[in-house]
Amino acid sequence: MANMLEVTSLGISFGGLRAVDELNLSIPKGALVGLIGPNGAGKTTVFNMLTGVYRPTDGGIRLDGENIIGKTPHEISKMGIARTFQNIRLFPGMTVLDNVKVGLHNQMPYTLAESVFHLGSYRKKERGMDARALEILSVFGLEEAAAYRASNLPYGRQRKLEIARALATNPKLLLLDEPAAGMNPQETGELMETIQLVRQRFGVTILLIEHDMKLVSGICEYLYVLNFGRLLAEGTPGEVLHNPDVVVAYLGE
């Protein structure tokens, strides 16, 4: 099967600091893969390169066969990569519904003339957009909260809303940056179910960064371990978590 994401010899330097070096990732279509590693290993930096926030110093990134290096974040979003953030970055003053509609932005193409003059076709598309946004929210059990301000949602539901907003961009590849951060065990359990559901419902390939080993070993099929910007190990969760190098990296000698 073809790979959804192909990362080859990826590297980035900030001044003299080599934050990521010689990184290779191959993620098959439809896979659910984890990227783990100690704090400061460069995991979020990898996400920032995949989404065009940082431009890699060297190496290549291909999404579904297409090069994405040098593209701007909004172009990459259109090409099919969506993400969530380690520290939630919703649009706090907007409603839950509007947050999702921002994600839908690129799929409801109407011309400037339509939006200025509010033609009939515009209204129809706007209604379509509302319906689609509500449909996505309902997958996360958030439809009755549609009119709330995003900042008024409890923490766990804000995390869900971030995933909903990312899915609204209709991605091929979904990047989740520490989705379980700050969650209690029960919320983490729910989140695992949500991620599985998302994968089935939206047929999306998922790459996630996570520290919660229970979550990682519970749902990921394959893991990459990053340490000091380099790939330390890769394999199935069983292999990786018993790898002596990985144990040392996490716990020390």
Partner: protein, 293 residues
């Protein structure tokens, strides 16, 4: 009757401030910068309309359209050339640049149109409506100004809250980085904001010069500062705030002129601003900046 007359004139002057303040507040909300060249765009709008009617013989309403288009293009060009390269620079650098652009526009106007005051002829003529058996006479331009302000306000509110581009604008104003990662072209959104703000400045310029017809290249400076005051007064970043701030400022200014002292009116306006900010630092409709500990 005098009171009513002064109130209506105050609302009309305030409506001009409100339209200018909308430009300040929208740009601030989205680009997080204070565009001090905004006042001078008003001046350009007034001169363009003046030239179109006097030299090209265009009808007054078409001249307003031309002024809107030219100012919108000017606003986008200013943003692209002067502010965009500084987007990640300190806000102080951007502020100084904006002041520089302001002087540039004033001096360019001085070169093109000279320093002699020009006489702007009102787009709706000098007719007025007499009420209460001729006791109260209201110039038509006053009514046109107030109506324009209400229409602009309503249109902008609907645009930002209901349309796709408006949603994109709000998203960019809340979190540029996240908006970009959701597929929004931040550059286009910022350009659009400048285009709308500058187009409104052209409208304000024409309305202002229709009521106060003496035109000089520095005509935009004082209304610009007052409209900025109005935007801060109402809560910068808030569209209804700009409207309320502008109108209140116009009323206060006009009442000060009528009942206290013409010379002191500006001082009183700014005094009110200081008092409001002492009591309510975020302005009348501003978002409360509370910090979670």
């Amino acid at each position: 009757m005098n009171f009513l007359f002064n109130l209506i004139n105050g609302i009309s002057l305030g409506s001009v401030y409100a339209i200018i303040a909308l430009g300040y507040t929208m740009v601030y909300g989205i680009a997080k910068m204070l565009n001090f060249a905004h006042g001078d765009v008003i001046m350009v709008g007034a001169y363009v309309s003046f030239c179109a009617t006097s030299y090209l013989g265009v009808s007054p309403f078409l001249s307003v359209g031309m002024a809107i288009v030219i100012c919108a293009v000017l606003g986008v060009a200013i943003e692209r050339l002067a502010y965009k390269p500084l987007r990640s620079a300190s806000s102080l650098a951007v502020l100084i640049t904006a002041i520089g652009v302001s002087y540039f526009l004033q001096n360019a106007a001085l070169l093109i149109w000279g320093s002699n005051p020009k006489n702007f002829s009102s787009i709706v003529g000098n007719a007025s409506i007499k009420l209460f058996g001729g006791q109260l006479s209201i110039p038509v331009i006053t009514i046109v100004t107030v109506v324009t302000c209400i229409v602009v306000m309503a249109a902008l509110t609907i645009f930002t809250s209901k349309s796709k581009l408006g949603t994109a604008m709000r998203a960019v104003s809340e979190d540029k980085g996240a908006a970009q990662l959701m597929g929004i072209n931040v550059n286009t959104t910022i350009s659009l904001t400048f285009a709308i703000g500058s187009g409104l400045a052209a409208v304000a310029g024409v309305l202002l010069c229709s009521a106060y017809p003496v035109m000089t290249p520095t005509l935009g400076a004082m209304p610009g500062i007052k409209a900025f005051t109005a935007a801060v007064f109402g809560g910068i970043g808030s569209i209804p705030g700009a409207m309320i701030g502008g109108i209140l400022l116009g009323i206060i200014e006009n009442f000060s002129k009528a009942y206290i002292d013409t010379q002191l009116s500006d001082a009183i306006v700014f005094l009110v601003l200081i008092v409001v900010l002492l009591i309510k630092p975020d302005g009348l409709m501003g978002k409360k900046q509370s910090e979670k500990v």
